[in-house]
């Protein structure tokens, strides 16, 4: 009896030790720790990249990840491993707080004519930063007197590219008021294309907030939106991120976290500001 020989290369497998080794490495690089329950999710993506890069096994792929100049493969893997689920006007109460309480507080203290700087991190595919831009245009009269810079960053370069394109599914825009939809979007097949003027009002950049070198350039923000990111970090990475965000803020600048996140469990650096619409965190004035 003749044997049918398969010429397909064997599918690499990830051992428990390799999973742990990778998990520690990825944590060190991104602050994101995968629990044992995420093993299938992680293994599947690792195996996919091992095959795609032509590596023989985990060992050679791991060496590529660690020593590749420029870190392109690490970036690819980060893009695959991160979660990017959001939509326009998510947690809208914070945008209300932005125009009704936070920005009035910021401009009341302002002693210069420099633009108000807002940072959204993570940007995901841009829905949050663009929501802010539209909200300011529609609901903040102060925009007639003040310039605003909106910068939005993500560790995932695919998401940044998607954000710059500004094309969204009906699900992503389901909470956008009809008149805003008509004003700022056009239909492209089943999707919605955001207009150029809103897209140009946001600058998208790549940034890993767990990386001290990446964070060095992010300074002097009046307000940071960092929502639903810290929930993916462990305690230590959360604390390190809160401290890094602290230095990205101007004195008395504000930080908005997601509704399920609380700074009181992360760091004591910030003071709580209770506005009628939302609870936010404020960097105190600092004595030298």
């Amino acid at each position: 009896m003749s044997r049918i020989e398969s010429f397909d290369p064997p599918v690499p497998a990830i051992t428990v030790e390799e999973f742990h080794k990778f998990r520690e490495f990825f944590y060190r690089k991104t602050g994101i720790r995968f629990e044992d329950s995420k093993r299938y999710f992680v293994d599947k993506r690792l195996i996919d990249r091992i095959v795609q890069t032509g590596c023989d096994d985990f060992r050679s792929y791991y060496a590529l990840l660690r020593f590749e100049t420029g870190g392109a493969e690490l970036q690819q893997l980060i893009n695959l491993m991160t979660v990017n689920e959001t939509y326009f006007l998510r947690e809208e109460y914070q945008f209300k707080a932005l125009v009704e309480s936070i920005l009035p507080d910021v401009v009341a203290r302002k002693r210069d004519r420099q633009p108000i700087r807002i940072w959204c991190v993570p940007s995901s595919s841009g829905e949050e930063a663009y929501s802010i831009a539209m909200y300011l245009l529609e609901r903040w009269p102060g925009l007639a007197d003040w310039d605003v810079e909106i910068i939005s960053s993500d560790i995932d370069t695919n998401m940044i590219a998607k954000a710059r394109i500004g094309r969204y599914s009906p699900r992503a825009v389901q909470y956008v008021p009809r008149d805003w939809l008509r004003k700022y979007f056009s239909r492209t097949g089943d999707d919605y294309q955001l207009c150029a003027s809103i897209r140009q009002s946001v600058e998208f950049t790549r940034c890993n907030i767990s990386e001290a070198a990446d964070m060095r350039g992010y300074r002097d923000f009046d307000l940071i939106f960092c929502r639903n990111l810290l929930i993916y970090f462990d305690d230590l990475s959360r604390k390190a991120a809160a401290e890094a965000l602290y230095d990205a803020l101007k004195p008395e600048g504000f930080l908005c976290l997601g509704h399920s996140e609380s700074m009181s469990r992360i760091s004591s650096l910030y003071r709580v500001r209770k506005f009628p619409e939302a609870l936010v965190y404020q960097k105190p004035k600092e004595v030298q």
Binding site: E211, A212, M215, L236, E243, A244, S267, S268, E286
Partner: protein, 210 residues
């Protein structure tokens, strides 16, 4: 292209660690707290590149008065998580400044591997205060280890407060293995009502009460 000797190059081919360390050291002592935090963060994120990082951070931590800078220094040392870092933090466990003691204990709790390595030294410290702090950190060790150590402590520890700290933790994590040692402890400290009360409570919690 011909090779150029190092001495012919217009500048150094690579940054000397000493030079980097000295600039970060200057940052750690800058007047601006933001600069001090940045330097601490840089040292914590690349310990391999800065062999003196733990010593530099530890020295600054003791001198530092700003809470925000202290926090970042402690986070940097926690991220380094080496035995040296744990050792430096452990030296603060009996510091006169309560905030530093608290920060050090909190940080050690988050670096269980390094904590485990220095735990024998802490538990045999001449200072009862340090031993008590160390006992309160035992539950940060990997599962199952703490109870064995706690049982050993209540068998030989002479300081009543250290024993009380051990009994307190045993009441939370102890199993029936701790029952006999707890009963012997009650005998050893028969004249200390608090030990009688705490040991009884622990025995009840682990289902071995009288």
């Amino acid at each position: 292209m011909p090779l150029r000797l190092a001495c012919e190059r217009p500048g150094p081919a690579f940054a000397l660690p000493d030079a980097v360390d000295s600039s970060l050291l200057a940052g750690l002592h800058a007047a601006d707290p933001a600069a001090r935090r940045r330097a601490a963060r840089d040292l914590g994120s690349d310990p391999a590149g800065h062999p003196q990082s733990v010593a530099m951070l530890a020295d600054r931590l003791v001198a530092e008065q700003q809470r925000s800078v202290r926090d970042v220094i402690v986070t940097a040392m926690t991220r380094i998580a080496s035995t040296d870092a744990a050792d430096a933090l452990a030296r603060l466990l009996d510091h006169h400044d309560a905030e530093l003691r608290g920060l050090a204990a909190e940080a050690l709790r988050q670096m269980p591997r390094a904590l485990r390595a220095i735990m024998p030294r802490l538990l045999s410290s001449a200072s009862a205060d340090v031993r008590i702090q160390a006992i309160s950190l035992l539950d940060a060790l990997p599962d199952g280890e703490a109870e064995t150590v706690l049982i050993a402590i209540i068998k030989r520890e002479r300081d009543v407060n250290a024993c009380a700290a051990a009994v307190d933790l045993l009441s939370q994590i102890g199993t029936s293995a701790a029952a006999a040692p707890l009963r012997r402890l009650r005998v050893r400290f028969a004249n200390h009502p608090f030990i009688q009360f705490a040991a009884e409570l622990a025995l009840n919690r682990i289902g071995e009460g009288s």
